[in-house]
Symmetry: D2
Subunit: 137 residues, 4 copies
């Protein structure tokens, strides 16, 4: 079995840099999000679809370690991995690379909630996708 994984690429926007001349540290979180959205697509449960069905998947926890800065116009690659079959919470890990350099590592933890932010069971479409990815429970 292969762990679900997705990779996206982006080019650092000038808007994402700061007066240190590097990508502002907070701007890696939208990049993590891009990779996460691609992973959900790939699993067959697009976030857009979940949202329409009334499910939200907010970030409960996140952590980032910055090894090297990135700069305007750098092409960076963000890879997200779902290392284990989620129970109540979804744990994802990320790495941001430029060529063969590791720039940033991180993680996010999520739970499914309803529109009023009450914890709820993951939607059927997600259960099916995960069973397919990790095998039945």
């Amino acid at each position: 079995m292969r762990m679900p994984q997705a990779t996206v690429e982006t080019r650092v926007r000038f808007a994402e840099t700061d007066a240190m001349g590097v990508t502002y540290h907070g701007n890696y979180l939208p990049w993590f999000e891009m990779a996460r959205v691609a992973l959900l697509d790939q699993l067959g449960c697009p976030y857009r679809e979940l949202e329409k069905q009334g499910y939200l998947l907010p970030v409960l926890e996140t952590g980032l370690t910055y090894h090297r800065p990135s700069h305007f116009d750098d092409r960076v690659r963000i890879t997200v991995t779902l290392a284990e079959k989620p129970r109540a919470r979804l744990h994802l890990t990320y790495k941001v690379e430029r060529g063969d350099e590791l720039l940033v590592e991180g993680f996010t933890v999520h739970a499914f909630v309803s529109r009023d932010f009450k914890a709820i069971r993951p939607p059927e479409i997600v259960e099916t996708a995960l069973a397919k990815a990790f095998g039945p429970a």
Copy 2:
């Protein structure tokens, strides 16, 4: 009669600067918004309240002229003016200043819409506020 006007102050965040070492040009729009929110408060129709009642006030048009850059940690003052009693659309003008230097001038045009973005009449609370500010029609 005095034109409705509000002034807010902010301190340039590092997050708002870019690799030119100045405030990113797009980051003046959230500052305009801060002043606009203060103006609506002052008129007696807080945006938060309008939103709860199902009204949105999206930006239909905006324009900015940049005279001088601002930098990290600068204290800037944003003033918004409602120059004339709005009919279908709300026209607001803005200036951003640092001490006695004019940094940026701009405007926004808004219309009230419902949550599904259909044009609607302004809520009663706004009509009342405007009649009070500009005199009855």
Copy 3:
């Protein structure tokens, strides 16, 4: 002669949306920037290169007209056009489209400045690129 033009595509990030459920109006400016960067690449004078040579190209003026909102995960296309050979200032126009719907139109005006924000002549590399695109003066 064909006017220099470049098109980029992007997918609306959740980070770019606001509590109205649409793309925040200020977040179209980084999209304009993406198209502008692609245009400079295509003309043979990448912004990254200009920056290394000590040239900055700040926005002096901008304007945007919002026709329709965009939403999370929409695929949008941004096209930038350099309509006429620039003299002291560079005038660019933009449109943002989703499929065959026009969402936003806008413009930016730029001038070349040195790192301390003094107006300077455009670098040789730009003069050459423009002469090639528009024909000699």
Copy 4:
């Protein structure tokens, strides 16, 4: 001895919300930054000053735990604490509160670097400030 601590207040901007109707999780990092800047001011070594002297203080690591969401126009209070006298690295902890509700907790780790991102000893002004805050080594 009292641990160095600073508190700032901010009002959630519409620009900081996302389509879930809450503050986008990445937008807490600029709030942490606001508190950090206030702490450095209070210690007598403003970041603006450090920057002028050629010192940068990038984030090497960060972590956030989200307990409750915040919404447009909420007044939130961010408190930063320097729990122990820093050696090579500066460890800061944060909490974001609304009234007496704890919304978010987090930390950042920093090191002083030169403009080309080489690790360097903290500037004299910082050593003095820390000795004053924590007592001599």
